[in-house]
């Protein structure tokens, strides 16, 4: 039904325009640059160059390692937190949740600067533990993104399911591992994808905590700083491909899992 003479179709226009200008067009520019060289000739050298250079491959591995450890640590901290939050009898649950989300309101570079000073006090010389600091900084930065989706799935979980499990003779532990955990997988996967991928490229944290080794984000930056738009675009494209692959794999699992509880996610 038209409202103010606008049909549903015409309401769509701004979104289509936005997508075209800010999503589709840049993607084509990226693809164009990735597969051309300095003089505009089509080439595959950027692609083959990436997978034959031990330095770029090593950087990919290093980024993976940081992202993996960071995600694991986030998950290990976030799941119990979210579980306790969701199941606590505390009347002002939202206040507790707020405390965990509160740091997100503060600019992250400010938070990392504060972390830097605290770490210096504890460790003495920050630069001695570059890997540890990078993981710590990113965990600090991304933890809320892991807690929120897990909390959401857990709090929407129907308590009668666990009651049913107990009626059928399961003890607390069994009920958790056979019912609660499998049903919270969508939240976990949503959290992982929100932590893993950004932490592969968030080089500002590394810079601020004095880790001198490049990760994928800084590698792209260094190509651009040297006016090599082509090499940088190719790396960005490869990252995009990794993200797509990751989403495809996880999608195929979450879709089936989430049918039961109506696809509860953020």
């Amino acid at each position: 039904m038209p409202v103010f003479g606008l049909t549903r179709k015409s309401l769509r226009i701004p979104y289509v325009l936005f997508l075209a200008v800010f999503v589709v067009a840049p993607l084509f520019v990226l693809i164009y640059y990735a597969f051309t060289n300095g003089s505009g000739q089509p080439t595959m050298r950027n692609l083959t160059g990436f997978f034959t250079d031990p330095n770029t491959l090593g950087t990919l591995c290093y980024s993976f390692a940081i992202a993996f450890v960071c995600t694991l640590v986030c998950l290990l901290i976030a799941y119990p937190t979210a579980y306790i939050l969701a199941n606590s009898g505390f009347r002002h649950k939202s206040v507790l949740l707020m405390i965990f989300i509160l740091p997100m309101w503060i600019n992250f570079s400010l938070r990392i600067t504060a972390l830097k000073e605290i770490l210096t006090m504890i460790e003495g010389n920050l630069a001695m533990y570059p890997f540890f600091n990078a993981v710590l900084g990113m965990t600090y930065d991304f933890l809320p993104f892991m807690i929120l989706p897990i909390y959401n799935t857990l709090s929407k979980l129907d308590p009668s399911l666990i009651e049913a499990a107990k009626d059928l003779g399961a003890d607390e532990t069994q009920a958790f591992f056979r019912v609660t955990l499998p049903l919270s997988v969508p939240g976990i996967i949503s959290g992982i994808s929100m932590v893993f991928l950004p932490s592969m490229t968030n080089y500002v944290v590394l810079d601020m905590l004095y880790n001198s080794t490049y990760i994928m984000g800084s590698l792209i930056g260094s190509y651009f700083a040297a006016y090599n738009w082509h090499g940088g675009s190719m790396i960005a494209l490869i990252l995009l491909a990794i993200i797509c692959l990751f989403t495809l794999v996880t999608e195929s699992y979450t879709e089936e899992d989430s049918k039961g509880i109506g696809g509860a996610m953020l």
């Binding site: 031990p54 330095n55 491959l57 591995c61 707020m98 040297a226």
Partner: protein
Amino acid sequence: MRKNVRRACSLFLAACLAVPAALLTVKPASVQAQDTTAEEASAEEDDTIVLRVSNWEEYIDLGDWDEEETIDLESGDIIGENSMIEDFEAWYEETYGRKVKVEYSTFGTNEDLYNMLTLGDVYDLVCPSEYMFMKLMAEDMLVPLSDHFYDTSDPNNYYAIGVSPYIKGIFDAKTIGGEPWSKYAAGYMWGVTGIVYNPEVVTAEEASTWKILNNSKFKRQVTIKDNVRDSYFAAVGAIKSDLLTSPEFLNDPNYSLRLEEEMNDVSPETIQAVQDYLQTVKNNVYSFETDSGKADMITGKVVANYQWSGDGTYTMDQADEDDFTLAFAVPVESTNIYFDGWVMLKSGLSQDPAKQHAAEAFINFNSRPDNVIRNMYYIGYTSVISGGDDPRILEYADWNYGAEEDEEETADYPLGYFFSGDPDDEDYMVTVPADQINRQISAMYPPQEAIARSSIMVYFDADVNEKINQMWINVRCYNIYQIPVWAWCLAVLIIGGIVFFLIRSRRKKNYD
């Protein structure tokens, strides 16, 4: 839950709004004043010259000094009330009877400026470093300075009258495509690269070599610059240290020429050696930094810091305020002498003589001794202007770091090379406290012997640039061969585990 969140948000927002609102009500007068000047400017735009200037960030006096910041030289007080740009606009109208409006903008790095120019931004007057204006010269993007600019009989030509003979010598001698720098570029600030160090931990000898960067005695306690050119220079100095300090090399009649050749060596072997060297540096330094090194030095997180002399002076001044003494050393191998210079762009001026006149007047106004001192005080870098017959710039050096009358141990610091061209000139001697010799004064005006081993770093052509940039990326990346065996094993285990888990859960589902 909603209610709580909403309440907290509105409280927070109210606080955010209240503070600036309170500030605004206190200072409405100045805001109104700004509005009216903006209106005036747009009303009379027709006959005003618009001069588009682009300069480094924080690289000109923006005025608004406190009363107690007045520089009380013997020849009179100097204070920056208005910004240099406003003062120039007023001075130009007063002197030449025509209105000029300066559109002032800033850039972060030479490469940013070059990118902006190639992407179509238009400026009339810019102030890049020497290697970038050499590149702009080579690419024929500049307008030569007029003959009148170098006419010393015009009292308003402060640059030609006041430029240091030492700097003038360099700008006349260095050429690009057979043309001297001075045809296109007028100097602004200059300096050398060196090491700021904490004398309680590092000896002067240890700090006076580029090899300090991978000296394991100071593991993770030194910083290096986060850009390929500065790092390359230091690395070349370190690898060629033995050659550069050998008596035969030092006594070579063509020493300066050979030094410059060696320091600008970009042969494949040298690039490889630099890469290997920087690899060891990466495992030894605290950080690759552009700006954070100053603070880390003052707070004592690091004990030595690769620094440009201007920032070195600033660091030492700041440390002094905390009663913490730092010193400055110029490495024995060689030091990179750098200049920032004003150049006029063809694309901006487009053969408008009035504009060129205003651009040259802008350079001259910034070369007037009192303005030079204001800029030097505000920026902390050293101007290329020595002032000619005007004594104030030497007085300023003395005002800054000269010895008090009751000082017990003093030393004479000769500045003749810079001020008169004669290193032994008795008239240009500053008496400083004895412990100043390797501190601020030596960063502000490097000693004669340090200048003797200075070398300019030329700009490299596209081909060499690509190789050096690749070398830099290789240094900063994590090489796949560095991954230890246990990490490979762990990775295989983890990936295997995940795959196994995924397949199993899928199977199970299919059975269901």
